[in-house]
Amino acid sequence: MHQGSAEYDVLVIGGGHAGAEAAWAAANLGARTVLLTHRREAIGRMSCNPAIGGIGKGQIVREIDALGGLMGLVADEAGIQFRLLNRRKGPAVWAPRAQADSRVYPAVLRRYLENCPNLSIVEGAVETILAERHDKSGGHQRVAGVVLQHGGCLTAPAVVVAVGTFLRGLMHTGADTTPGGRVGEDAADRLSESLRGLGLTLGRLKTGTPPRVARDSVDFSPLVEQAGDEQPLPFSFMTPKITQPQVPCWLAATNPQAHELIRVNLHRAPLYTGQIESTGPRYCPSIETKIVRFPDKERHQIFLEPEGRDSERIYLNGLSTSLPRDVQQRLVALVPGLARARIVQWGYAIEYDFVPPEQTDAALMTKKVHGLFLAGQINGTSGYEEAAGQGLVAGVNAARFVAGRDPLILGRDQAYIGVMIDDLVTRGVVEPYRMFTSRAEHRMHLRYDNADQRLTPVGRAYGLVQDDRWAHFLRMKDRLVRLADALERLRYDGRPIREWLKRPEEEGERFLRSFDELRELADGSDVWTRALIAVKYEGYIDRQQRLIARFRELEDQPIPATIDYRALKQFRREAVERWSAVRPRNVGQAARVSGVHPTDVAMLLVHIVGGRKRDRTEVFPPE
């Protein structure tokens, strides 16, 4: 690691889901890392829904785990109800989800961080990020360190900003506004100024959260209970089994009276009075928004999720709101089962600053300030998993930046994390970005079951995967190979078992019973499921692989960093403008920039190849 005169290598600002992964990754790569947080107990806190995973998100958690990150391990330990979503659909869209204990989760996360070598946790509020002009880096600035609220100063050549909703965070409940990043926690106001001072443009987004009620004030009798899976699936590849008992959730719903109450109080709703102007996510609408946009709907579902195994608090999922307190109280009382519910935390909307991600590159480093990395909500995403995925990448790249090495950039064909980062830096955001499986064109390949095959070797190469995980991975890989071979070799009624398994209804239970060899190989874990997936999806997987090969062709064509698009005379003006703004790294990314046509891409390829050596170079070998 580069020594220089700095005290540390990497400073991580923020102890949320992004910050935690960033600090963990950087420290594990040997960087002298400091995690700066307002309060130690707030590390890993869940601002909103006390759940990890879900559609698209569960896949991200698996990827983080495959790369040696924390989220999967912590979720397995802190989980209180596990469900595999989309179970009846194909494995490409299976998504693990878990309700977590909101007290245990942060505690477990903190335990990992506190026991991590190379990592120190420091309590303090960062006010300013220091940067200096560095002639060597061609007019860009370089990060030098941070200044804390009470005057302390830490120096480092890399800083990861993972401050969540804290940048000039402003919470709204009715007409009441309270500055803060979360209930009971201060906002980071000076930091926004500092980022602007570095030349970054900031935008503003909003999100919201529902009220929490006291468990003992809920009448569960009219509510529908929803239990977890009988055989809960762990997030982490390293967790053999979920052993803790699960807790149920309950389903409730609003009704026309509740909707009418909201309607007559819309004039007091910050979202509709103009008090809040920033854009919120469409997929997490407040209950007010639901009523306004879908007036004919007579009921909206609410999920009652306990915030912990022994917790007194129940989270009312589906009732996100910033209506005034009195309205919230009356609203909740109109829901069957909640007539006498006591609200222990009011719902609120929160506005916060973010850095439009076109200013950041695929390594999550800002283009204007070298060594400054941004991860999480600050890039315009929402969700713990999205934040954690970015945190991991930012942490790795901060450490590698300091060591003078190339960054880790995950492709759209490798991970949902890659899809997310590429979407952010190539297209920017207009509302908080959340992962959906429909965003991934290679969804067939980016499955929850094969995250280790896709990413653990990468993690190992980058130094993120320790020996125990690597050994586990190799064992699994070996078993899969041997199982695939056995399915080909063993026969039933004259045909290879493999062929039988191709039939849609066939799950293969009877073969496991009759063939010892199969039973041995398939013992425990999800080896059998994975082998089945490979067989049943084979044609589609092959097709996907061909598409990926085509994708790779252009993705692996780098664009010289010094390219001057405006000097290209024959190119269409729109393509020149868009590329100049985004500055794609490779031809593949250039193709994804909005407003670009196929011929523009073909011409770019010609131009780049023409710029290479003057003698006859062959781009592809003769057949």
Partner: protein, 456 residues
Amino acid sequence: MRVPGTTDTIVAVSSGWLPSPVGIIRLSGPDSFDLMPSLGLAPPDAPGEARPAWTAGRLALGSDQWLPVMAMWFRAPRSYTGQHVVELHTVGCLPLLREIAARLIEQGARRALPGEFTARAFLSGRLAASQVEGVLALMSSEQEAAVRQAARLARGSERRIAEDVVRGIVRLLALIEAGIDFVDEEDVRFISAPEVVREIDTLVAGIDAEQGGSAASKRPGRPHIALAGFPNAGKSTLFNCLVGYERALVSPVLGTTRDVLSAELEFGGLGAVLQDCAGVGDTADELELACHHAGERAAQEADLVLWVHAADTVWDEREVSACARMPFERRLLVWSKTDLTGGRPRAAAPLDFLDEVVVSAVSGTGVAALEELVAGRLEKMAALRGEALCAGELHAATAALKRARMIAAGSGDVLPSPELISLELRAAHELLTSETSRGLDEELLSRIFSEFCVGK
């Protein structure tokens, strides 16, 4: 959009403006030879063959139809592009050539982008590195021609059908994706299997109906020549003169707007469409607007603009700026009514044109020279490759839709394997859109959120 690769197999109809006696279909890429049996042609033997081979044969179109063809087989790396190249020389009948290309696209070839063969030649080192500018210029001018063609076809029925189908696919895809990404919404039902089957049947029927063919879909991709200029410049007279008083040929609609008169005619044996941008306002107030519109439309859609200026009038400022807006290499100046000025213009034009010609439609002078000039220009211009959509993409899209239907059908009410259905629908969508479709996921999400109350 089909992102251009360098290792897939591309196909194009290359033969300049038609009608002409010979038409050529050209393929380049690893599957070139392998695709030929689907047309009833077999690659020659002798894998070690160092020289290109000619084979004469028959190109099978249907059970009973065939075309005579000479096939040239260039085995990689000894070809223009360095890949396997096949050239099919056959009858120069555009609809038939398009049908052949369509078959190949259905089998997995991709329609070549403007200048793509030359691009591949360059990328494989067949052209010297110093020729990069020339290659880019070629691709650029072909791209522009294709854009113009697309703009014209945008008003044609062919384009509309494809757009309707694309919209239908996106609508259906949104419902299916919603069923994947919003499964938590217990009380929202998105779409059932029988509904998916019905929707797909409607889409396929829509494509089939179009294939039955309007005249427009069979219309060859002829170059468009626009006659533009101020009112009273003599456009209409010139138009009649060129077309030759056979009003029967004039049709008000050939994929263009109502207020433009169009006629199909030939210049030196090359077919073209002549458009008279007359019929715009004559009053002084509308003058600027009229010039602007005429100029803009002509510039956008015509491959060649004949700006008609009456020799006995002064050049108006607005006229000059309207001309200046047209690309230099596509504007020709026609001095009209020169019988009033003694057979020649009084002064030079205030700006440069690619070429100028002096006519007097009334006396007939100079019209032959004009025709020759235009014919010469047409020959020099790039062959039009960029038809907005051809039957091949429609066939291949239909095949993808049918595969989706097969997955959806026959399993009761619950939609099986939505992610596989989605894959096929996306493949169909990609085939039918010619621009970048990276915004597809945003479009899907927008639809889902506007129609359904989802998200917690």
